[in-house]
Each structure stands twice: as C-alpha cells, then as structure tokens.
C-alpha cells in the first residue's frame, strides 16, 4: 500500500470519526484539534479505526503521532513498514 492509498484511507477513517467536518477544508499538516473540536474521545475512536483498517497496534503513548492527517499517514506507513507490510 503506497502513501497515497494510505492517505485516502486515513482521511476516510478520520471522517468516520468526525462526519461533520468538511473534508475540503481539512489542512493536512495542522493538528486536528487546532482546526476542529477534536477531543480525546475522537482520538480514541480514530485510533480504533486505524487499528481495524490497517491491523496495526496503536499504543496510547503513540496518540500524539495521530495529531494531524500528515502525521497519522506517516505513522501508519511506518507501522506497516515495521510489520513488513
């Protein structure tokens, strides 16, 4: 899975957690919580979504690496690579 595919899927998962967010206005390098009301419940749900979609473990200590779209994409890519995927 290349980064473009990962990004499309990560964005889709983010929008499942925050369906009221306008995807066109999402800035990929800015933290979600600096753009929208995005709290720890959303972060948890986003992490659960990533876990199910990509099969990667997302320990609580890694939540900060999911703070923005670009960070989350990089995180997933790294975790998949580590897993040899």
């Amino acid at each position: 899975m290349n980064e473009v595919d990962i990004e499309a899927r990560v964005l889709q998962l983010f929008l499942e957690v925050a369906p009221d967010v306008d995807a066109a206005k999402l800035r990929r390098d800015v933290a979600f919580r600096d753009q929208f009301d995005f709290d720890s419940m959303d972060t948890l749900n986003f992490a659960i979504g990533l876990h199910h979609a990509f099969g990667v473990e997302v320990p609580e200590t890694d939540y900060r690496e999911l703070a923005s779209l670009s960070k989350a994409v990089a995180y997933v890519a790294r975790r998949l690579h580590e897993r040899g995927g």
Binding site: D20, F36, D37, M41, L44, N45, I48, H51, E60
Partner: protein
C-alpha cells in the same frame, strides 16, 4: 385493533411539543421503528418512531401545531401496543435542519390566514419557503402547488436555520430557568489524579484498544457512587417537592462540533463496570456527534457531570439542569506543585466543583459528597 400514536414525553419538564412534519400518510403500512413524525421540543428536533406495526388510519394533527404531551397524533389499525420508541435527531441533520426551517414558515400572514391550497402549504413547508412571499395565481389569489414549485425554482433556497443558533436558544432557555429558579450553592475541591492516571495507564496498556478507558469514565462512576450513597443529590425537584430517584442516571454534557451541547444520560452508572460505562460513553459521544439520540437518554438524567478536561481550565462552575438538583463540573487534569508526604512534587491534579440546590441540601452535605468523589478517585481499582 386500533391504537393511538401520541405526542411523546421527553422528560418531566416537557409539557408540549410541535409536530413539525409527518413522514407517513394515511393508508401507509408502517412497522415498529419506522420514523413517522418529526417533533420539535425545547430539547431539539426528535425523530419519532412508531411503536407497533400496522396501517396509518388517520393523521389528526397538522404540521406546525403545538400540542400537549399525550395528545393523540394519529390512529393506526392492526397495531400492537408496545413501548414507544423514539430517537433524537440533532438539528445538524439535513432533514431536521429543513424541518426547523419549515417550522419557521409563518402559517398566518400578518393580515390573517394566507390563501393557499393545502398541498401548496405542505410543499412550501418541505421546501422551507415563506408562503407570504409567493404570488398566488389561483382563484382569488390562492397560492397553488404550481405557484410554490415555480417560486422555489426561481428563488435561491432560503438558508436553513443555523443549528448553533437553535442550540444556543435551547441552552439559554434551560440555563435561564436554572439561574432563575434554583438557589445554587457551589463547592470546590482539588485532588491528586496520580492514582487514577496510573490506573488508567496500567489498564489501557493491558487491554485491547476497544477496552481502553478515558478519565471521564472514572469521573462518571465516582460521581454515580457518591450520588447513590447520598440520594439527596440524585433526583428531581418539581412543584416544590424533591423526589429522590431510585436509579443513578448520570447526564454527561457532550459538545458536538458547531456549538451544540447536549447532556444525555448513561443509565444506572453506579451499577455498571467502568468498561460498560466507557463503552456507553463512546457510543453516546458518537451518536451526539453524528446526530442520533434516544428519547429516554435525554429524559432520564438524575444528576449531571460536565468536564472540560482538555481545555486547560482550572475549574468549571456549572449551572444545574432543572429539574435536577446537582451537577459536578471537572476542570482539566493539570500538572501542579503538590505536597506529597511533606515534599513538593509535580503532580496531576483535578479540581471538581459541585453546584447543588439549596432547597434540598446545604454546604455541609455538599462537602461530604465531594469528599466521596475524591476518595473514590484515589482508589480507582474500587470503581
């Protein structure tokens, strides 16, 4: 068997509701769970589901009519009487938004009733059109269905009601009533969150991701246990009398993006495991943010918890949701210098504030209540 479909009650303080729109028609076959009407109350617009299966015989109330709780709205034949089912649609839902816009359409022109055919009126509601602006081409200037349709085609659609605005009105109404009627007193207590944080870290690193807990689950449970042991903080004050509740249903103030705020209840929190409380909290938050709540969740709260845990504030001084008699507000969990066994250390601390009703309790009881919440948080494994 003929049965009746009535205006539902969504809480002890609800007296009436406005039928916004029908989602069915006479002769329609409906089954249990189908949404057949939209009702607006001061809690928002509600999707009302039918309680049994059958055929709609008759619709008795016109859209736009405000009627008391219990009023028969429709008759069904061949329906089995069952427990009413309802769910809440927040005003962000496109349908609800349109319904609110429609609700705003005046049914009376300033000079009297608008001359308009029934079909045109219904269509105008659906399209969110102000019928006073539609020129009528029918006999005597009556507005026909065609007039409405061509007006709609020629006119940019009226902007739908701003949900944040509606929600502000709802909140303002409840909070004005609270401040006007309830003699509040406030008590605040700051405690260490060290034990709770250690417990959460330990728990969350040892369970699957779906079973991870957030601090809110602990706070809800701690308040529920205190409410169970001190029932004078758990119940309703109506008509000059306090009635303690037999169960502990904790309302949780949940914000949705766009300035909406609701406080649906998690039922029987005192008797549920932390895991169950957390699962329900996740589910409830998702439904608040995506738009669907159930009626009993809005009606059932016996005490409320509000938390600004992530906003960096020291404390929150909340207003009680009438007819409840207490609310506990939690500020952020913040690193602060704290004295542990005679030594100053950086420690995560949390300030909780109780707002309670002086008609029912006083500060002494309130202090004991907060002390119980604090003690529960110091021994999180007991929650």
């Amino acid at each position: 068997m003929v049965s009746e479909f009535r205006m539902p009650s969504l809480g002890p303080d609800m007296e009436s509701g406005t039928l916004v729109a029908w989602r069915t028609h006479p002769g329609a076959r409906v089954k249990r769970g189908d949404v057949i009407a939209l009702v607006e109350t001061d809690k928002g617009v509600i999707d009302v589901e039918v309680f049994g299966s059958g055929t709609i015989e008759e619709l008795l109330v016109e859209p736009g009519t405000r009627v008391p709780v219990g009023t028969v709205l429709a008759r069904l034949s061949g329906a089995e009487q069952e427990t009413p089912l309802t769910s809440i649609v927040l005003p962000s839902q496109p349908e609800a938004k349109a319904a609110i816009a429609a609700e705003r359409v005046p049914t009376l022109a300033p000079s009297g009733r608008q001359k308009i055919s029934p079909a045109a009126r219904v269509r105008a509601r659906e399209l969110g059109i102000d019928v006073t602006k539609v020129p009528g081409s029918g006999a005597g200037g009556v507005i026909t269905l065609e007039d409405v349709v061509s007006y709609a085609a020629a006119t940019p659609k009226a902007p739908a009601a701003e949900p944040a605005y509606d929600m502000r009105q709802v909140i303002a109404k409840a909070m004005s009533r609270s401040k006007r009627e309830i003699p509040h007193y406030y008590l605040s207590l700051t405690c260490s969150f060290t034990a709770a944080r250690a417990f959460l870290e330990r728990h969350n690193s040892s369970v699957s991701i779906e079973q991870r807990l957030l601090p809110s689950a602990l706070l809800l449970k701690a308040v529920a246990l205190a409410a169970r042991s001190m029932p004078e903080f758990n119940g309703c004050y109506t008509d000059g009398v306090f009635s303690p509740a037999t169960s502990v249903n904790v309302g949780m103030a949940i914000a949705a993006r766009g300035g909406r705020l609701v406080a649906p209840a998690i039922l029987d929190v005192d008797r549920k495991t932390l895991q169950a409380v957390m699962t329900e909290l996740r589910d409830l938050t998702t439904r608040v943010r995506t738009g669907h709540m159930r009626a009993n969740e809005l009606a059932a709260s016996t005490i409320t918890v509000t938390s600004l845990a992530e906003e960096g504030v020291d404390l929150i001084v909340p207003a009680i949701y009438p007819p409840q008699v207490a609310i506990v507000g939690f500020g952020s969990i913040l690193e602060r210098p704290w004295i542990v066994e005679g030594v100053v250390q950086p420690v995560p601390v949390l300030t909780m504030t109780l707002a309670a009703d002086h008609r029912v309790t006083d500060g002494r009881a309130g202090a004991r209540f907060l002390a119980q919440v604090r003690d529960a948080l110091q021994k999180p494994e007991g929650l």
